[in-house]
Symmetry: D3
């Protein structure tokens, strides 16, 4: 299997039970997750050798992050720790027509405050096939914009493929800042998770129609080094009911997965990361493009039925789910 | 904002988890609520100065009621306590096609046994804009029928608007008794929550068609002092899935809200009170009629997604919900 | 009411909460159940005198089984215990599009290891109207195939009606073995729970169309002593949403119940046993055929809304449910 | 083994977790229990044929009582049900130096309101060895004082031994009323649970010293038909730490058990009933007096380590505990 | 009763169950508390009119703080809110010989960042009898050192008594800084919670012996305006077992309470605040000095048996506890 | 740090809450553990490179074991999996004077059924400093007696030190069988956890007095290759209160740790393994003998305050605990 480094922030998530508002909660469930960490866990579950590079607080919660990642077989050799705090966020779970609400408390985290790269980049990328990072990381600070570029450049230089998930978060930076960063970063990218909205609002591609293939093509013209684009199309009927369909642009062609109903959703957080993990696994294990997009979408759908940020399924389970057409008790 | 007095019984509610029958339950969740108390909390959440008048047992559960009301900013200056018991009821939560089942144990409560008004009515209604009471109160005893009338008369005399929610409960009194009471009480009422079934079965208005506007008009002819009628039209697909639409009769016109699907319902109890609270807030804060009915219906729908009897949303949250058309994670 | 003996294995079931995979679970909910035991409890709930014959471990879990059965009024006079283990199984609850997954750990149980009948059969069947057993029992071992036949023969000889639920489980035996057993056993059977798939795959009846009546007729021709066949037709939209309809072949005619939507399912396990319990109750209490199939299907549907293997409803509650057409709060 | 009828009220108990005051509780644990019911369960656990006579509400909680009793093998053939309520009480669990606090809500229960005996007394006592009742029953109402005497007389007439547990509760009646009742009732009693305080305050025996033997002797002189007295001596160091020692007056001699430390107490409620159950079992199974008091005290101590009102131990477990002198893990 | 303003930070506390380390916790219990807020709640429980002045985040957790305070009847008229975060801390509950461990995450809270007083001090102190603040507030920042002095001066000027609880926290500031602040602040103080260690390490009083009276005397000589000192003497046998005794210096004399064993401790956090609340109540309600110290110590002991930061007991309950000498079930 | 291989069975443990008997439990808490696995985790927590060799079921519970071990950084490169079951055991937690009770269901596990070594022993022991195994492994079957000897011989041959924990379990084999095995195995052992009772009952050393030093000396004379013996002396006051003291025989001298009171015990299971882990860490990290035994005993004591089988403390935390003499809140 492949060797992968994922890098980014990982946070503690505290969640109230559905039906309880955050201000009423007398108990909060604890999870740990972050975009790149969730991708790392997916890939480790599929059998790859994955290392997660980040920095956490040198307290109980930093320790919890280590145990969390190791339990899935993700290496923490490049997980630094230092004095400070772990970013935190609080989730009021939506249900039915009521949306999920997130309260962030991530400012001043030990990761966000990093102002120069604390890893030996040679060591970090030695023998690595893919380096994966998301658009949340450069959004954390001006420093992180520079550091992310440095990481991409070093990864490229070391012969890694660079995987990048746009993952635009409006509470962290403006569309202008994000767009500017993308212009600098995408030339280093090989695999890019980006969709129609990213194309229009971040890259300034003219809105034409709803067909994502058009935008993939336009993005590839802008950034010819990227040969794989992927994203999901999510129709939100309610917080509890979504439809999900994945698309993959590969060697100039657009592949579309089955369209899944997800009803009811248990926990949507991490669904996109499960999708990215699935696409990377398809690419790294030599699956055909159609097989890859079916696998990735099935992995993402499965994630919605399990609590916590990360995908809990093996490759065999994802494939079985992708191929099944009913939900019989398996006994 | 306005000054409001709500008066009625408040009870302890003990609820088994959905999927567990009451006779199997080894744990019961505790809530406190009552029709008028729930309205009081809604109005306090919207910023009004609300006082709740009632009588509770002078034991731990009476204390719990006080803490419950105060936590929302409802004044307990007129909440009496005395030796006796707090009314109790038990809820077996329905789900899907299985209906919710209620076991009442409310007889002989310290409130129900009250045989003369224990408040100084001058003090109670001094400076008050609206006095709100529901049809559950006169249903508790012959005494309470008289006491409720006395309260309405005193409120009117003190210059309050009187708000009345029919809230007919067949286990407490007959349609005849309720109808007779309404004939006496409605001449004192300004704002009246009553629907088509109340019109037909309690007020003897002839059934014509399903259009609620017809019945509003007929009721207003009977009771010309009432210039606002309101009610919801609920379509019950199952215990978990309802549709809800609010209507408001205001200055001779009928206003209808959006029709909401609610799927899945977390806790329906208090949904009607949240609606009444929303209408009163609209009227008291000078919202237009259409805005009022949209607000009230949105407030009621939101209540269905939160455990416990009372609305947990601010005015801003209700408005945001009323204006949103999806259930995206807000982060 | 009637006197019934049910015989079979009863196991401990350990269930993770929906949204948690078995390998993640830090808590497991405990239930006890088994096909025949569930039928026994249904029948006891309806007022019959029911005895459950089985063998359990002489440890805490055997004791738990005794308490479980007795709590419903099922007699344990024929419940043996001995050194060994109680069969166990683990349930990962599915939800939405994710199927439920069962991990069995039932091998070597004190019941499965029984190699000769340890009851005095005269005593066991004295005064008994119906003996009920399912196809899981002969599937447990070669010994149990013989022992099940002995039991049926002795029951017949004692003047009991024999009720048999095919309940084919592919993890326990092959279709060939099951078919062979059925050829030997069905001549002793009076009431038989078997459906279209059983007819085709176990009894070798030629597949013609989807109409179950055809297969009932064909089965009755093969086994003329059986005059009652019954089964449910379940359409699985997802793990959370099923449709269910019951059919009953009685005196040469096929009766079909209302078709129910079940949405959402709380716990499907035991749904079939609740159906069988309902049919037997209809037959034993002299209900008409249509009434019987409506009762049995309603009982099965209700089971889906309650956690645990066994039906928790009285006859009156099932009838009320069968006759209701909405899910209003009953207060 | 022996045949026993126990008669009395059984209530629902709702308990907050230690460390949570009743007015703060958002969850309450549910138990069912009552003095005589707890004795009935102890005796059934030891293998006797026990019937529990009482009257419960014909609702979910009456049903729960039935399931509770049956699960231990107690017969409910004489458990009546009718319209009304089940008595309820609430427990705020003490811990350490904080005392446990009980809030009763038992007035007007369907049992307390009984005004004439609703059993056929011939049938009730046919073939019965012992009839057991406690001082809580006559304390419930003036009617029950008469009814309890009628029951004792009928039991005596039917040839039963009468067992009576004084169980004086000051919130239910005065010492005078209790004393007067005892003068009428004790002439019918054979086995009497009463201690030094009962002797002094209820029977007017002069206080001499702390030795319970003196009071047993004095009581026996007053009521010569009683030949067995028993009680525990409890030293309360704190709510969590008690010492407990049992004494038994048998054939003119006083027997004293080991003195047990109980640290920490899990749930003290029902500890006295477990003691009474142990004494009756000793008497009914022909144990020697010393063996009986050791058994009864051990049973009572064990009860303190288990949640809920009733003893959960078999005869073998109690004997093993009485004989052990350490608390090693038994594996 | 008296009118009191308490001012300080209030935080969210997230607690793992005893026996679970913070890094293992999958659930955290939520409480809200802070030194001055806990005192405010104690005083409100005893019937005083208490206002809590602070600043919280304008998010769900700020809302939760408001509901928390109001539920006890504490006025939030001076509780500000603004953009930012609420201070947070995490508690790993010790038990037995294992100490409790706290992980603070309070930096950058909206309260700590306040750099000028945002209240109208005239309004804040109008008609107020006592202003209470603790040494945690000036420890939060250099700004807060100045602001605390300004508050004390304004309170004095408005005719309030000033109550100050030293509450030295070594993780927030050095002994030097604290000592320097005390020199400036104590001249404005009337009631001072400070003990032997504060005298020696913060005020530089020479260590002589263990008798606290000596240090009280010495402190009063230094700060003659203070006429009341008080503190507890805690002997820590283990995390679960402490002894606690209160002392009060009043009008030149030292009063000592009973010495309490506390075994086992449920939650020690807030025990000191309950003591301070009790002393202030004694002073404000005109209790004699000995009565005051007995009341305050009993209140503190009771706090240890209830989860959460704040005292849950009324005056009557504290007095009953102070006077009781056993822990019998009160029924 | 050192490289260690631990080998043995690991099981699923299902535990009822204290105060609930196993037959009453409706929820069971899930832990994974085994003597050698617990030692492995301790050593990994202290920073060593530890590999755990075992065999688990290839189902959800085998997967859970993998995640469990990896979360602590234990390598699972030698953790095999295959068709079958994972051994299971059930724990009824004792409290106070009530002993903990274990129900084993471990027979026929995929590990116990192993009949030849399935590892490449060269690979397994390559570069390894210590091989650790316990007396539970040879007790599992006749095969395992042989296989354990083979493992020890191969480890020795590869240059590893062999660590052996007698861990005699009477339910698995007789004293005779264990003694016979020890005679064969101990000549290969370097570090041996064995105490006075092992010496007397398994090795036939004559009982002289209570001093463990005597027995260490005698054992060393019999097995001169062993130069380190260690064990704890546990005084059981109750299930909740124990005293614990460690002793270490090192280079002909006996070292004794502080004597700890443990009160109350949260979970005793794994306390011995934490001790062994601590001794091995002391030996492997070059601590002096007295320091080693203090460290190991402190580690064992700490284990008693945390749920689950394995030690959750770092080296720094153990040392801090060993050096502390109070249980103050550390904030």
């Amino acid at each position: 299997m492949a060797k992968i480094v994922c890098l980014g922030e990982i946070m503690m998530r505290l969640t109230a039970e559905a039906g309880t508002r955050l201000n009423q909660a007398s108990q909060l469930a604890v999870y740990y997750g972050g975009g790149e960490a969730n991708v790392a866990i997916s890939l480790a579950n599929y059998g790859h050798q994955v290392s997660y590079a980040s920095k956490v607080a040198d307290n109980a919660f930093g320790q919890a992050v280590k145990n969390h990642l190791r339990s899935y077989g993700v290496s923490i050799d490049f997980l630094l720790s230092g004095t400070g705090r772990l970013g935190t966020y609080y989730v009021e779970q939506g249900i039915g027509q009521k949306a999920t609400k997130v309260v962030y408390d991530r400012q001043g985290s030990v990761f966000a405050l990093m102002d120069e790269l604390e890893w030996d980049l040679k060591e970090l990328f030695a023998g690595i096939d893919v380096f994966h990072v998301s658009g949340i990381t450069p959004a954390l600070s001006g420093n992180w914009r520079q550091l992310t570029l440095q990481l991409m450049q070093a990864a490229k230089a070391a012969g890694c493929k660079v995987s990048f998930d746009c993952n635009y978060r409006q509470t962290l930076w403006s569309q202008e800042d994000a767009g500017e960063f993308l212009q600098q970063a995408l030339p280093y990218v090989d695999y890019c998770s980006a969709g129609r909205l990213d194309a229009i609002y971040l890259l300034g591609i003219k809105e034409v129609d709803a067909e994502v293939a058009h935008y993939y093509q336009a993005m590839q013209q802008l950034f010819p080094t990227i040969d794989v684009f992927f994203s999901t199309n999510r129709k939100i009927h309610s917080t509890s009911v979504n439809e999900l369909q994945g698309t993959l642009w590969f060697e100039g062609q657009c592949y579309t997965s089955k369209n899944y109903g997800i009803d009811p959703i248990v926990d949507r957080i991490g669904g996109g990361d499960a999708f990215t993990g699935g696409v990377l696994h398809g690419l790294l294990s030599g699956k055909a493009a159609q097989e890859t997009i079916e696998f990735a979408t099935a992995a993402s759908v499965l994630k919605h039925f399990v609590n916590g940020d990360c995908n809990q399924y093996t490759e065999a389970e994802v494939i079985q789910f992708a191929n099944s057409d009913s939900a019989k008790i398996s006994r």
